[in-house]
């Protein structure tokens, strides 16, 4: 498979460790799809990289998708369209509540509740939930041929894969569910268990939280209760969307130990979850001349007898050579990932700064590994 074969209608999800160039890869693939395949493409990132936003001609990326002017690059003939947006967790949650609440009045009440504020803004993992939500929204809008999603660099891929499940759990499970709808909890653990444990549980909850918190909490729950059905349906929708054959997952890595291990981890988790994992992309490859034997000999010779500046040049080369060797070792081990290597991009001296830079990255990726 080649990178260009991925640029077909559907969804492309990029996973990988932090700092491996996921966002740039996502933007490059999206730009290539729009320019070369004339597709209507949306790229959704979590990274507030200003330079990348500028590269797409946008002052900054926001929660609302904005159209990228493709004619800025030498792509005036392109009939495709590219839109880019960034996930802002808080505003995406607010939007979700407004859509689901039914009435504005009801939405406002929820938005003002202290518990809602905690849930939407503060808790770890809310990013992962909302990324999936936005993906679902964009897909439902039927506006785009291809959606490219740059996932949060979540150390725990499970967070992200389980996001839809955890979202329903959040609103319908646990103490929240118990307080608002005791029957639901009973359904989960069996009625008998419920009657055995409900009293001590309520006593513990009361003991732990204090009376006023409990009542605020249940007030909040009653107000979101009507939304259970909507949330649940959406979560199921998201999950089936991720599992579709037209949804492809790509793992991005660099040739460094930690990201490489992360890539391995992502491959494992995605395979376990039955996701359609198509391959890996390697970024920031070091130049192969660092391993040049003649240059190595020269450097060793210069170390012994030469003016200080040339000695420094030699010493510096040998230092970089160790990095080149690590690069080379890990490249040799890329098969261990168990997915095909689809493309690689060399280390660049400057981060990508404009649309033609993105298209160049896309071209390099399409050249194959």
């Amino acid at each position: 498979m080649t990178v260009d074969e991925l640029l077909k209608p559907g969804i492309l999800v990029l996973c990988g460790s932090d700092g491996v160039g996921k966002t740039t890869t996502a933007a490059a693939l999206a730009a290539r799809a729009a320019v070369r395949e004339d597709m209507h493409v949306a790229v959704l990132t979590i990274d507030p990289a200003r330079r990348l936003a500028n590269a797409m001609g946008l002052a900054k990326l926001g929660n609302r998708l904005r159209q990228v002017n493709l004619s800025a690059a030498a792509a005036t003939t392109a009939r495709g369209k590219l839109e880019a947006g960034m996930l802002e967790t808080k505003s995406a949650w607010d939007q979700l509540i407004i859509e689901q609440a039914g009435s504005r009045e009801k939405a406002d009440k929820i938005l003002a509740n202290p518990f809602y504020k905690e849930i939407s803004g503060a808790f770890v993992g809310s990013h992962e939930y909302i990324a999936m939500e936005r993906l679902y929204d964009l897909h439902q809008s039927d506006k785009y041929d291809l959606i490219v999603l740059d996932t949060p660099p979540s150390r725990n891929a499970l967070d992200f894969l389980e996001a839809p499940n955890r979202m329903t759990e959040l609103v319908s499970g646990g103490l929240l569910g118990l307080l608002a709808r005791p029957g639901m909890f009973a359904g989960k653990v069996g009625l008998r268990m419920f009657s055995l444990t409900a009293k001590p549980i309520m006593r513990i909850a009361d003991n732990l939280l204090g009376g006023s918190t409990l009542s605020e909490l249940s007030e909040f729950l009653v107000s979101v209760e009507d939304m259970y059905g909507g949330f649940k349906a959406r979560a199921e929708g998201v999950y089936s969307l991720l599992g579709q054959a037209s949804t492809s997952f790509l793992v991005v890595t660099t040739l460094e130990d930690v990201p490489f291990e992360e890539a391995r981890f992502f491959v494992e988790k995605l395979s376990q979850a039955g996701m359609h994992l198509v391959g890996a992309i390697v970024n920031k490859r070091l130049p192969s001349y660092l391993l040049d034997p003649a240059a190595t000999n020269l450097a060793r010779r210069l170390l012994e007898r030469s003016p200080p500046v040339e000695r420094a040049l030699a010493e510096n080369f040998l230092a970089y050579r160790t990095l080149g060797q690590r690069d080379n070792d890990l490249m040799g081990r890329i098969a261990e990932l168990g997915v095909p290597l689809l493309g690689s991009v060399p280390r660049m001296s400057e981060p990508v700064g404009d649309l033609s830079g993105l298209l160049e990255v896309g071209r390099l990726l399409a050249e194959g590994a």
Binding site: S17, D18, G19, A49, R50, F115, E118, A122, F123, V124, H127, P153, R155, N156, R166, E169, L170, G173, G174, L175, G177, L178, V189, T197, P200, I201, I204, N207, L208, L209, G210, T213, E256, V258, E261, E262, F265, Y289, L290, D292, A295, N297, L298, A299, L302, P308, V309, A312, L313, E315, N316, F317, A319, Y320, R321, T322, Q325, R326, D329, P351
Partner: protein, 321 residues
């Protein structure tokens, strides 16, 4: 502002060090190296991994650790946060119940931890608090706790969770405990939050954003900035102009005439100068934006990871003292 050496000693005299930064900047390595440095000073050190991925034991060439602390090296112990175990421990401490009596409610506890906002997050800092207080043989169990903390995206929620929870839950044992945890984290005498970065654009801009978020959303003030993987001084300042000339177009030609195999050397030289230029520019940006005591840690050009790497890095830190 203390010098580099003073800064390391200033950090190591605290009770708790919490390292955070963008993924890939070497948080775990730095945590391990700082722990080793303190251990070599004769301190009893506990390393807490916050991330489920947890690879700190790799840096000591030992197998993975669980929620119960285990020895990793002379004077270094490690433990890894496990949500289920930590919730049990937390609740049993909170309710003054032995752990086993919570077993029948396992399912309920799992739900609860997901449902009360901030409760899961507080477990991590709650564990830090608990270990900081733990005593053994009439003295504190640990001289220093090093937390290999959450990455930039999560750390503010995590460290801020105790204070948040204490305002959300306004009475009862959860409230009291949350206040005690929050007080430990914001006490600069006992706790130092350390921002770790490398001299690259994205990690630097995330670090600056992170410092702003600490100021806006928490009562925690980071104590120091560690800049990892800086170019070591292979070329002395005095030789730098000559080095630049050598790598420039004119110098190149002359060098290649003498050494036809020399092109890769010039290439590597250029890469180094680029990296150095970037470091200087970003270093200034960090200094201007953060005004934090800063420790610059040179790149360790070494292939092997594991304990050999940790030792080299601890030595590099020691050299800065």
């Amino acid at each position: 502002m203390p010098g580099a050496g003073g800064l390391i000693d200033d950090l190591l005299r605290r009770r708790v060090l919490i390292l955070t930064g963008k993924g890939g900047v070497g948080k775990s390595t730095t945590s391990a190296a700082l722990a080793l440095l303190a251990a070599n000073d004769g301190k009893r050190v506990l390393v807490i991994e916050v991330d489920a991925k947890g690879n700190v034991p790799d840096f000591f060439d030992t197998r993975r650790v669980g929620f119960k602390y285990r020895r990793l090296h002379k004077n270094v112990w490690g433990l890894s946060m496990q949500p289920k175990d930590s919730m049990q421990e937390y609740l049993s401490l909170m309710l003054h119940l032995p752990g086993f009596s919570l077993k029948p409610m396992q399912g309920f506890i799992e739900y609860t931890s997901g449902a009360i906002p901030g409760l899961k997050e507080i477990l991590v800092t709650g564990k830090v608090y608990y270990e900081e207080n733990a005593s053994e043989n009439g003295g504190p169990r640990w001289d220093l706790i090093v937390v290999d903390g959450a990455p930039t995206g999560h750390v503010v929620s995590q460290l801020g969770a105790a204070r948040h929870l204490s305002t959300l839950v306004r009475s009862g044992p959860i409230h009291d405990q949350a206040v005690r945890i929050a007080n430990l984290l914001s006490d600069v005498e006992r706790t130092a939050v350390v921002l770790v970065t490398i001299a690259e654009e994205m990690p630097v801009s995330e670090t600056i954003d992170l410092a702003d978020r600490f100021a806006d959303e928490t009562d925690i003030t980071p104590a120091a900035l560690l800049v990892n993987q800086l170019q070591p001084e292979i070329v002395s300042d005095a030789d730098l102009p000559a080095f630049k000339r050598l790598v420039s177009a004119a110098g190149r030609k002359d060098f290649l005439q003498r050494y036809p195999d020399g092109d890769p050397l010039l290439g590597a030289g250029e890469m180094m100068l680029e990296a150095q230029g970037r470091s200087q520019h970003l270093g200034k940006l960090l200094a201007r934006s953060l005004k934090l005591p800063t420790l610059n840690i040179p790149y360790v050009f070494q292939r092997n990871h594991g304990f050999a790497f940790t030792r080299t890095m601890a030595r590099a830190l020691d050299d800065l003292r």
